[in-house]
Every structure is written in structure tokens, then in C-alpha cells.
């Protein structure tokens, strides 16, 4: 499951990947004709809309692809970098870049391509961009507050507009086809002799647009893999692939105290609940994120029994089924949820059991109460009780 950084590809190898990806990026941009400033600015005067076509097609292709990979369970959307938004700085910075585009005839990426094939104006542009960054850096303290204003974090348009990703990407593809159609008409009107679109075979382009819209529509209606799995395990009559066992509170307490190396307790409870009523020796995993990539290694140790602890038994069982459904083995859940554990093992006023083992159980629970409390105290003192920090991909310009 992607992305492969930082788990499979190290930081060093990632630089080699960067070089290879840059090669492809530069090759495609140059092939698209983006090493010519007059072609690039043509989009603003209507005589050459290559920029609109390449840029918009590229964005839609990538957006549809991301959606398809995520739906197929090949890409973990929670692990990829979403560039954070500073709203007003983005608008003002974008407006400055727009003016820079018209004066300079390039954007940074295309200027590098043009330098590579010997455009002297592009070399001036790159030289200027160093000065621009230097000037910005030197004057930065004066508007640092503005640069960090209106921060929205890694906001997504789909959340902001309240539509699903699939619907939004379909609308984006539709907008692209509309823009291409109108743009082509404008281009032929402005520059009937030189417009690139005068050579386009209409039928082929209509067919390509139809394919694009069909794929986008398919991506829009394709159910997300996780949603599909959740529906599957919640369906009546669901039988898991592998055995999913329930573990009694007493067994869990015993194995924790025993420091059983073949046991891994996974705490699915919310952070507040975990802090208020801690269990020692656990790994905290957000309940909504059990299928996340970063927990893979934890769950794939086959000889270790993974016991899921949640607020309710149903929640822990559903999570266990999800894990089993994705191929993990030796998964169990805590019977009765955490409240049952608290009621039987942790409360001094536990109801008396029946039968001849009742006194033994009572004695064990008394020891367990002390032992577990001691373990929690030790963990807190050592600072190991803090939840694991999630490794996230860093990106951005």
C-alpha cells in the first residue's frame, strides 16, 4: 500500500526517486511545449491554450487516479501530504505570481525546462526568482504575521464544500471538458491561423472526453474499500475468515501482569478515556484508523495475539473482523468492552463469583488491581505511556 515513503523507501533513496521523477516531469513539460514563454502566456490572450489543456488534464488525471488507488486499497489517503492552507496569503501570493507569470512568461517549473534547452529569457527568470526569494526572506520579519494569518491547516475542498470526493472529482472533470470546449472556440476565434486546436480531430477529442467522464463517474460511484469492508463485517450472518476469539477480562489482566510476550493489547478508546482510565502495556490506535498503514507491523506479527480493547464489545469485535478481513490473524477482542474489565477486575466491590474457584478469582483480582495500578504508575513515571507519534510524509515547496 502506498505511499512507500518513509516505510519502504529511506530518505536517501528518496533523493534518487526525486531525481527520476524530476526527469519524467521535465521531459513531459518540455514535450508539452512548456519551454516557450510565448506559448505559456498564450493562455492569457487566448491565442494558445496549451497551458489550460495540459494543466487541467494533468490535475484531473491525478485526482481521478488518487481516488481510484484509494478505492482499490492501494493508497492510504491519510498518509499522503495535503498542502496546508493560509487563505489570504495564498490569494495575495497567487495574485503576485499571476503578475510575475505575465511579466516573466514562465512559472518556476517551466522556467527550469526552458533553461535546459537554452532559453536566455528563462535564465533571467530563474536569476530573478533567486532575488525574489532572497528579498522575501530579508523582508520576512515585517510581514511574518500576515504570512501566517488565516491558517486553515491541511483543509480539503470536499470538506469545505460538503461534497464527497468522488462527486467533486466528477464535477472537476466536467468543468475541464467544458473549459476545453469553450477554450477551443475562443482560441480559433483569436488566432484562426495559428491556434493549436485547428489541427485537433474533433471526433477523437469527443471520444477522449467521454472516456474521461466515464472513468471519473466510475471513480465517483466506486465504494471506498474501507466502507465496503465495514458494511461487509456488519452485515447479518457474517462469518470471519480466521478465528476471532473473545478474551475474558481476567485472562487479559493475567496476561498483562505476566508480561506475556505473545500478547499485544491494542487500545481503541478515545484519548480522554485512555488517559482517565489507563491500561498498562498497550498500543493506542484510533478506532477509525485500524486499517491505517502505520499499524501494519503491529498487527502482522502472527505469533502474537492482538487483543482489541474498546469502550464496547461490539466496537472491538467489528475492528477485529475488519483486521481479519484484510488478512491479519490471531486477533481477539476483550469481552464486554472496557467497562466490563473495570467492573470485574478493577473494582473492589466486584460481585462474588459462584463455585469453588470464587475465592481464588477474588484473590487474583485483588493482586491484579495492585499490579495493574503499579504498572500504570511505572509507565507514567517512565513517560512511555505517551501515544506513539504517527509518521507522516512531509512535502510542499
Amino acid at each position: 500500500m502506498g505511499p512507500f515513503v518513509p516505510d519502504l523507501i529511506s530518505d536517501q533513496l528518496n533523493l534518487v526517486v526525486a531525481l527520476a521523477i524530476g526527469f519524467l516531469f521535465g521531459y513531459v513539460l518540455e514535450q508539452a511545449g512548456f519551454s516557450s514563454s510565448r506559448r505559456l502566456v498564450g493562455v492569457f490572450y487566448g491565442y494558445d491554450l496549451t497551458v489550460l489543456r495540459v494543466f487541467f488534464t494533468g490535475a484531473v488525471t491525478a485526482a481521478v487516479g488518487v481516488l481510484l488507488l484509494a478505492a482499490g486499497g492501494l493508497l492510504d489517503l491519510t498518509a499522503i501530504f495535503v498542502n496546508p492552507t493560509w487563505l489570504t496569503p495564498a490569494i495575495v501570493g497567487g495574485a503576485i505570481m499571476g503578475l510575475g507569470f505575465l511579466l516573466g512568461g514562465f512559472c518556476p517549473g517551466t522556467s527550469v525546462c526552458a533553461v535546459a534547452i537554452g532559453k536566455v529569457d528563462a535564465m533571467a527568470f530563474v536569476g530573478g526568482s533567486f532575488l525574489g526569494v532572497f528579498g522575501y526572506a530579508e523582508l520576512f520579519p515585517r510581514f511574518a504575521a500576515f504570512a501566517d494569518s488565516t491558517s486553515l491547516g491541511p483543509a480539503k475542498v470536499t470538506t469545505a464544500l460538503g461534497v464527497s470526493q468522488g462527486v467533486f472529482v466528477l464535477l472537476l472533470a466536467g468543468a475541464a471538458v467544458l473549459a476545453f470546449t469553450v477554450g477551443g472556440l475562443v482560441e480559433k476565434k483569436v488566432a484562426p491561423e495559428t491556434a493549436p486546436s485547428r489541427h485537433f480531430p474533433v471526433r477523437k477529442h469527443v471520444a477522449a472526453a467521454a472516456v474521461l467522464l466515464a472513468v471519473a463517474a466510475f471513480a465517483a460511484v466506486l465504494p471506498n474499500r474501507n466502507a465496503r469492508l465495514i458494511a461487509k463485517v456488519n452485515a447479518p450472518g457474517y462469518v470471519p475468515h480466521h478465528v476471532v476469539k473473545a478474551m475474558t477480562p481476567d485472562e487479559l489482566a493475567f496476561r498483562i501482569l505476566d508480561r506475556d510476550p505473545h500478547l499485544r493489547v491494542v487500545d481503541l478508546r478515545a484519548e480522554t478515556a485512555r488517559k482517565a482510565r489507563p491500561l498498562p502495556g498497550t498500543i493506542a490506535v484510533p478506532a477509525a484508523d485500524v486499517l491505517g498503514k502505520e499499524w501494519r507491523n503491529t498487527f502482522s506479527e502472527r505469533m502474537v495475539r492482538k487483543v482489541l480493547v474498546a469502550e464496547t464489545e461490539a466496537e472491538a469485535r467489528t475492528a477485529a473482523f475488519l483486521l481479519v478481513e484484510t488478512g491479519f490473524e490471531n486477533v481477539a477482542y476483550l469481552e464486554g468492552g472496557y467497562p466490563e474489565f473495570e467492573r470485574t477486575v478493577l473494582s473492589p466491590a466486584a460481585p462474588e463469583g459462584e463455585g469453588r474457584f470464587a475465592p481464588v478469582v477474588e484473590r487474583f483480582r485483588e493482586q491484579a488491581r495492585v499490579g495493574l495500578a503499579e504498572r500504570v504508575r511505572l509507565e507514567r513515571a517512565a513517560g512511555t505511556a505517551a501515544p506513539k507519534k504517527v509518521k507522516k510524509v512531509q512535502g510542499g515547496c
Binding site: 502506498g2 533523493l15 518540455e30 501570493g93 512559472c107 518556476p108 533571467a124 533567486f130 480539503k156
Partner: protein, 177 residues
């Protein structure tokens, strides 16, 4: 194919989208360009005036102690790749030539001056917006970030707004190219 006829733009856009998708799939991040400029400037300032760099809130943020050298950044290597890839493409299409491309009404000196000014504005604007056409707009749109769409609309919106004022730089006396 003649010298000046590029690839079909939709095919090029599709390939560009695949490159971006591959980047996201492998590395979890998008493409970029202006970030490399920033890294080079930071490295240069740090080499020439390390005390000044340490005192500035802009440079010091990018030069935390124990940090890798800014020239060893992902985007620096990516942009090196862009240079090589574009060169190979230009070579294969027989487009390698030292030339100053300019509008019919601009002198060579004027073109270079405006190109440098445009580069300076783009460089500064990209710092404020945290990315340029590639890093913020294109890559941001692919992951459906608000920043991606806002930056894209701001760049092109402002471009259309200013186009009338800069028309002597690009257009002939008559309309059209």
C-alpha cells in the same frame, strides 16, 4: 514533427497527471519547483553569512540544528531531474538553441529585464502562498486541498486581470500572435 509542434496537449496533460500520480503513490507528496529555489537561497545565505541566517526567522526555520543541508532537499534533486529530463526532450526534438524568446514589440534587453522581474515576483509570491503552479496549485488540486484550488484561481485570475496591461510585451500591433 516540426521543431515547434509539441505533443498533443491532452496527451501531455495525461502523462503529466500520471507522473504526479506516481509521485504521490511512491513518495506521498506532490511535485514542486519553487521550493528548490528557496533551498538554494537558504544554503547560499547560510554559507555566506551563517550568523545572519541563524538570526533571521525565515532562514532559521529551514535550518534547524542537526538538519540535513538544505541543498540535500527532495525538491533540489527533483529540479535537477527536471533539468536533465527537459534537456533530453529538447535534444530529441532538436530544440536545443541559445535564444531569447520575446514578443514582437520588445527588445532583447527589455525582455530579459521583464523576465527577471517576473521571476522575482514569482519567487516572492510562491513563498507567501507556500508553493507555485506545480507545488501548490497542481499538486494541491490532485489531493483536493483548498490551498491548491485557491492558489490556482489566484494565479490565473490575476493573470487574466493583468493581461491587458502587459499586452505590449507579448502581442504584435495587431491582435493575435
Amino acid at each position: 514533427m516540426t521543431k515547434d509542434s509539441p505533443m498533443n496537449p491532452y496527451l501531455a496533460g495525461f502523462l503529466l497527471g500520471l507522473v504526479l500520480l506516481l509521485t504521490i503513490f511512491i513518495t506521498g507528496r506532490g511535485l514542486g519547483a519553487s521550493g528548490a529555489t528557496k533551498n538554494v537561497v537558504v544554503a547560499a545565505v547560510n554559507a555566506v553569512a551563517p550568523h545572519h541566517a541563524a538570526a533571521s526567522p525565515f532562514y532559521s526555520k529551514l535550518l534547524p540544528p542537526g538538519h540535513e543541508a538544505p541543498l540535500k532537499g527532495w525538491l533540489v534533486f527533483e529540479v535537477l531531474g527536471v533539468l536533465i529530463g527537459a534537456f533530453v526532450s529538447g535534444l530529441s526534438a532538436d530544440r536545443l538553441k541559445l535564444v531569447t524568446e520575446r514578443g514582437p514589440r520588445v527588445s532583447v534587453g527589455g525582455r530579459l529585464l521583464f523576465a527577471a522581474a517576473g521571476g522575482a515576483l514569482f519567487g516572492a509570491g510562491a513563498q507567501l502562498a507556500r508553493g507555485c503552479t506545480s507545488g501548490a496549485a497542481l499538486s494541491g488540486m490532485a489531493v483536493l486541498s483548498v490551498a491548491g484550488f485557491v492558489t490556482m484561481m489566484a494565479i490565473f485570475g490575476s493573470g487574466f486581470l493583468f493581461a491587458w496591461f502587459t499586452r505590449t510585451l507579448w502581442l504584435g500591433a495587431k491582435a493575435g500572435r
